[in-house]
Amino acid sequence: MRIDFTVNGTAAQVAVDPTTPLLDVLRNELDLKGARYGCGLEQCGACMVLVDNEPVFACGREVGTIAGRHVATVESLAGHPLHQAFLDEQAGQCGYCLAGILISAKALLDRTPSPTRAEVVAALDKHLCRCGTQYRIIRAVERAAALLAHGEVR
């Protein structure tokens, strides 16, 4: 079946079984490797992407349900202050969890440009990080909010 949608602002068209997980389509049909397989169970957040600006678990979302919708992956975040903030804070160890976390952080900042720490934590709580980088990640999101507030959007 042919499915049309938008990925990172570009039209995409795939011919696959509509029950295929969006994650597999992004990674294997569209060669976008930023969303990652962690559990396939909607439990870890490694696969997080935006669908119409809402964070969703790409591992659990059938591609047929996103026809006509807008998908954004971490590949679309180049130049976003979140990138700079994560590098400034060196918020990463192995980095496997980060792509999904950046997506949830983006959704948070779009909605709540100056989040409290509790709001940051709540927005990221569906994500797991086994390396124990959470403390730096929280600070990085707060830093990105500060960069945004100062208009340092590149």
């Binding site: 696959v16 079984d17 029950t19 295929t20 997980p21 597999d24 990674r27 294997n28 060669d31 976008l32 490797k33 930023g34 990652r36 397989y37 962690g38 559990c39 396939g40 169970l41 439990q43 870890c44 490694a46 971490v74 590949e75 975040l77 180049a78 990138h83 994560f86 590098l87 060196q90 990463g92 160890q93 192995c94 980095g95 496997y96 969890c97 980060l98 792509a99 950046l102 720490r117 934590v121 709540a122 990221l124 709580d125 994500h127 797991l128 990080c129 086994r130 390396c131 124990g132 980088t133 959470q134 403390y135 730096r136 990640i137 929280i138």
Partner: protein, 704 residues
């Protein structure tokens, strides 16, 4: 330095040409055997090399872990990459620099001492010579072995080492493809495994039609003894087949587990290999105090399940793996596949953090076996989440009985640790099996569980001997070869449970003596200034003097260890609130790891160790069902979440540039577990001696 004291990596590969070369694009190409496992080692090694050569950091290109192209540095384990790999690179850099300068001095007819290096260019008496490494390199023999005799740069002249450098690998990891899971090769065939439940199990029946129906696409089912792979050009199809396969397979001769076996206490009294280390008995006379501590089986639980690629073309097998050691993996693959090692190349590709021996090498064998049977395709094996939890080697459960004889002042004069544990290292080179080998038509012999020697830091005994000044200290180690699950190296090995036990016990002894826990520890650290230094610093950072009498649900605790009793020193203070569950509020840590290469990288490692240990201590336990591990997802095996992270973590590095540079990946785990245990005891006025400190366990204690 004589040749006999060369660091292991350099002794194995003494030729500088194997470590570095100067490429025409004015870069320095560095080849190393230690690999990136999320610890930032590539950044630190680049700093070390750039420092010795006096080249800009951004001229360094790195290739890590490759049996064709990089030196054999064994495995990336035991916090040794800086200590051994870094030390080797430092000597290589010094040697190369000296040979280059010698050659140029000859050419310019001057003394080598007249030549200095700045940004990779040579100056004579401070004046540019117009020559640099790249112009001189063609005339210099870098193949001739280094003997380690060239003195490295004095530490006082360091300008890169000791300054924070950003992680080289981070930009790629936050923007897209960066991992082995993201590798794409021609002729890709996706593979998923149907796993043998345990060694010895026989596949009696497989409903292939049902699996094909579940797969919903073109599928090849590859059976080879009890080794079963599900292959498809379409990953979704292979994955669906694998998810359905276990319910359509009937196995015979499956070992049965009981719930009691998932507890550390089960190990006590099992048949064991016993040994005694430390001071001989009999114990001194005096007041005797005893307590038993434990931790359960714990998973590495990498966020990215194991993955490997393999292709067998023209008689050569190429394997991509996130293994901790490409050469040991190649040797193991050669043995299992009965091939000469020269016919196999293993290339390292980065995976998610592994924290020790997880499924990485097993996935590599899976891919290699399939590639051998299905040549000329690139076989990509991706373990499922359930498979990772169900089949990765686990960190062993441990039961630890401590017994101290006290002097009249309440200080220990005799200390005995009795330990029951499964093996802490069952890598293939140490008596273990690659998992898939047990399912092949000619299966692996039963594993022969052993443990690292004391010279290597021990396994179950790691850090069992207290660092404190106690007249007699001994360990009775019961290695239980019949542990019900496969166990192997998990970050810190036995040190996590041993330090949890010993530092908890120290607090119990301090309380008995009516002495503050910090004061009590310091009184036993005469002549051990680095240990006393980190404890005092952590206490100061935390404002330890504010610590009240406790018992009001608010607690402070401290934990300390020198990792392996010979590596980095760390002291951790934890502040907790305990109501129905433990809430970790703040953590302070002081560490002394000698010369610091990358301060921010080191802090990152310390913080990661602290949070992972907090997760172990508060939440984690593998559970068993009838036929194997039953905690197969993140709901049944919860780990620390964002909402449970302390609001503050502060790490101080003690500056000790004259001391050997040490790794810090593992040094905080035991101290953190102990600090939390002690803080909870302080908060509740009751001691919990078994990890993890779950809500159920707190409730049980509160109900008395």
């Amino acid at each position: 330095m004589s040749a006999t004291t060369l660091p292991a990596s350099l002794a194995t590969t003494p030729s500088p040409a194997k470590w570095l070369r100067f490429d025409p694009d004015r870069t320095v190409h560095l080849s190393v055997g230690k690999v990136e496992i999320g610890q930032g080692i590539m950044t630190a090694l680049a700093q070390i090399a750039a420092e010795e050569l006096d080249v800009p950091l951004d001229t360094i290109r790195l290739l890590a872990g490759d049996t064709d192209l990089a030196p054999d540095e064994g495995s990336t384990t035991s916090s040794l990459s800086i200590e051994v790999g870094g030390a080797s690179l430092r000597l290589v850099g010094a040697e190369v620099r000296a040979r280059m300068i010698a050659r140029l001095a000859q050419r310019l007819n001057c003394a080598p001492a007249d030549i200095t290096v700045a940004d990779g260019a040579f100056l004579r008496a401070g004046v540019p010579t117009g020559q640099d490494y790249w112009s001189v390199a063609p005339e210099v023999d870098l193949v001739r072995p280094a003997d380690g005799a060239t003195a490295p740069k004095p530490i006082a002249e360091y300008r890169l080492v000791g300054r924070s450098a950003p992680r080289r690998d981070l930009p790629a990891k936050i923007s897209g493809a960066a991992f082995i899971q993201d590798l794409v090769r021609p002729d890709l065939l996706h593979a998923r495994m149907l796993r043998q439940p345990f060694r010895g199990a026989r596949l009696a029946a497989l409903d292939e039609a049902a699996i094909r129906r579940a797969a919903g696409g073109e599928l090849r089912i590859l059976r080879h003894g009890n080794f079963v792979a599900l292959l498809s050009a379409n990953e979704t199809v292979a994955h669906r087949a694998a998810a359905a396969a276990p319910t359509h397979a009937q196995w015979e001769n499956v070992r049965r587990l009981t719930p009691a076996q998932q507890e550390a206490a089960w190990l006590v009294g099992q048949p064991s290999d016993d040994r005694e280390i430390g001071d001989p008995g009999p114990a001194a006379a005096g007041t005797v105090v005893e307590a038993r501590y434990s931790r359960p089986y714990i998973a590495h639980a990498s966020i990215g399940p194991s993955c490997a690629l393999a292709e067998n073309r023209d008689g050569h097998l190429s394997v991509w793996s996130h293994t901790q050691g490409v050469y040991p993996l190649r040797a193991a693959l050669a043995r299992v596949l009965d091939r000469r090692p020269e016919t196999i190349s293993v290339h390292h590709a980065q995976g998610a953090g592994c924290y020790g021996h997880n499924g990485a090498d097993d996935a590599a064998l899976d891919a290699a076996v399939v590639a051998t049977l299905v040549p000329d395709r690139c076989i990509r094996v991706q373990w499922r989440r359930e498979e990772e939890f169900g089949f990765e080697p686990l960190g062993s459960a441990m039961a630890i009985s401590l017994r101290a004889v006290l002097d009249p002042a309440g200080k220990p004069i005799d200390w005995t640790a009795e330990i029951w544990s499964g093996s802490h290292v069952q890598r293939p080179a140490m008596g273990g099996n690659l998992l898939g080998h047990e399912a092949l038509p000619v299966p692996a012999p039963d594993p022969r569980p052993t443990d690292p020697s004391e010279a290597a830091g021990g396994g179950g005994t790691r850090n069992a001997i207290p660092h404190y000044a106690i007249a007699a200290r001994r360990v009775l180690h019961h290695l239980v070869p019949g542990a019900p699950v496969r166990t192997s190296a998990l970050r810190g090995l036995g040190a996590v449970a041993n330090v949890f036990a010993l530092e908890s016990f120290m607090d119990e002894l301090a309380a008995r003596a009516g002495v503050d826990p910090v004061t009590y520890r310091l009184s036993l650290l005469d002549g051990r200034p680095r240990a006393a230094g980190v404890i005092a610093r952590a206490a100061t950072m935390a404002g330890w003097v504010r610590r009240g009498p406790g018992g009001d649900g608010h607690g402070w605790g401290i934990g300390f260890a020198q990792y392996k009793n010979r590596s980095a020193y760390a002291a951790v203070v934890a502040e907790v609130e305990v109501e129905r569950e433990v809430r970790l509020r703040r953590v302070w840590c002081a560490a002394d790891a000698g010369l610091v290469v990358n301060p921010d990288g080191m802090r990152n490692q310390l913080e990661g160790g602290i949070l992972q240990a907090a997760s172990f201590t508060l939440k984690e336990q593998i559970t068993f069902g009838e036929t194997g591990v039953s905690s197969l997802d993140w709901e049944t095996y919860p780990i620390l979440r964002f909402s449970e992270v302390p609001e503050e973590i502060a790490c101080d590095l003690i500056d000790a540039p004259e001391e050997r540079a040490l790794g810090v990946g593992e040094c905080t785990l035991g101290p953190t577990a102990a600090a939390i245990g002690n803080a909870v005891a302080h908060a509740l006025g009751v001691r919990i001696r078994d990890m993890p400190f779950t809500r159920e366990r707190i409730a049980a204690v509160l109900l008395g």
